[in-house]
């Protein structure tokens, strides 16, 4: 579906602009020029995020935090492997994908763990990245309750996945 979506949307926009008789070439150049400023504004907050998240994710400290949860998860029949997926999902997109890759390799994409972690990965976005990037780019320092609501919605998403996935697949 998205294979057709990109070419079609670009075709449609430029066609529509030509029909409305605007200078599509000049308009494109003006817009593209804004990209330089946007990327320049993105850099500091993105660097800060990648710096901290990479150290956290590579340190193995997550296993330590969650090893005490193991008996409880076992009791609830929740596979332990999905915990890192659920925790890292809001922090980093590439780490989430890396974990998913490992799970597919070990358990297979059609296993219960494989499907559950796919749904968790696919039903949310990188909350921390989005919040720091968007607020950082326009220079907002006080983000008030944004992060709490975002992370709470992510937690809710994980719980809903655990409950619904067995019925939906």
């Amino acid at each position: 579906m998205s294979r057709f979506f990109i070419p079609l949307i670009v075709l449609f926009v430029i066609l529509y602009g030509s029909i409305k008789k605007i200078n599509v070439y000049d308009s494109f150049i003006n817009g593209a020029n804004e990209g330089i400023h946007m990327v320049r504004n993105m850099f500091p907050s993105l660097l800060a995020m990648i710096f901290a998240v990479n150290i956290f994710s590579n340190s193995g400290v997550l296993d330590l935090f969650f090893s005490f949860l193991k008996p409880l998860l076992l009791f609830l029949k929740i596979p332990f492997e999905i915990i890192p997926v659920a925790v890292l999902r809001p922090l980093s997109g590439s780490f989430g994908l890396g974990l998913l890759n490992d799970i597919y390799k070990v358990y297979g994409p059609d296993s219960h763990v494989g499907i559950l972690s796919s749904v968790i990965q696919g039903s949310s976005d990188t909350t921390l990245y989005i919040i720091s990037l968007y607020f950082g780019t326009i220079g907002i320092r006080k983000i008030r309750y944004a992060l709490w609501v975002g992370l709470l919605a992510d937690l809710f998403m994980v719980l809903i996945s655990l409950i619904l996935v067995p019925f939906l697949t």
Binding site: Y16, G17, A32, G35, I36, V39, S59, P109, V149, S161
Partner: protein, 192 residues
């Protein structure tokens, strides 16, 4: 808040690595983060410029306004603080539409433009407005109908049924989006 989380992520990770004597890995991660950031920016920079170029045509030709008018009735309910004819609605709707179709990279420039235009309405320039937070909650909930990357990864590992996750993803992300909007509304009342 983000300040504390950032310090926590860095401190817990680096102290744990130091305790385990993982100094080489730690300095590799510290020094490598600059390159990792630049790599990411180099990957998305041309895409952002390209989409901003196309979007500029869409805006000038009036297409963005048309699109905005289509989902505006819903957006007006979700964003009561934005004046009805404000340009923000055009960017917000383009961002949401791109995200729904699984085009994260296309959605980002629209999203930043949406934030910039909401910043014009914002009275305290260093503090997030209620509309901005609501908008970011919609983004972080990641409502999508085509989780493209995950399906391609499943295909790579010879999944017998790569599309089986689409319906659960739509349902789960939609329910968590409703939940997110609901607690956003409650929380914003507490802050007034």
């Amino acid at each position: 808040m983000i300040n504390k989380l950032w310090a926590f992520l860095f401190l817990s990770g680096s102290l744990y690595m130091m305790i385990n004597g993982n100094y080489d890995e730690l300095s590799k991660q510290i020094l490598g983060s600059g390159k990792a950031t630049l790599d990411l920016l180099i990957q998305i920079f041309p895409l952002i410029s390209l989409w901003l170029g196309v979007m500029s045509i869409a805006k000038e030709s009036g297409l963005l306004d048309k699109l905005a008018r289509l989902i505006k009735p819903i957006l007006i309910l979700i964003f009561p603080d934005i004046p009805k004819n404000h340009e923000s609605f055009g960017y917000i709707s383009s961002n949401i539409v791109s995200n729904i179709f699984g085009l994260g990279n296309a959605a980002t420039p629209f999203g930043i433009k949406a934030m910039e235009s909401m910043q014009k309405l914002n009275k305290k320039k260093d503090t997030a407005s209620r509309s901005m937070i609501t908008f970011l909650i919609i983004n972080t909930c990641g409502f999508t109908i085509v989780p493209t990357t995950i399906i391609s990864l499943r295909l790579l590992y010879n999944s017998k049924n790569p599309e089986v996750i689409i319906l659960p993803c739509i349902i789960v992300s939609f329910v968590s989006l409703l939940f997110g909007l609901f607690i956003d509304r409650i929380w914003s009342k507490k802050y007034e």
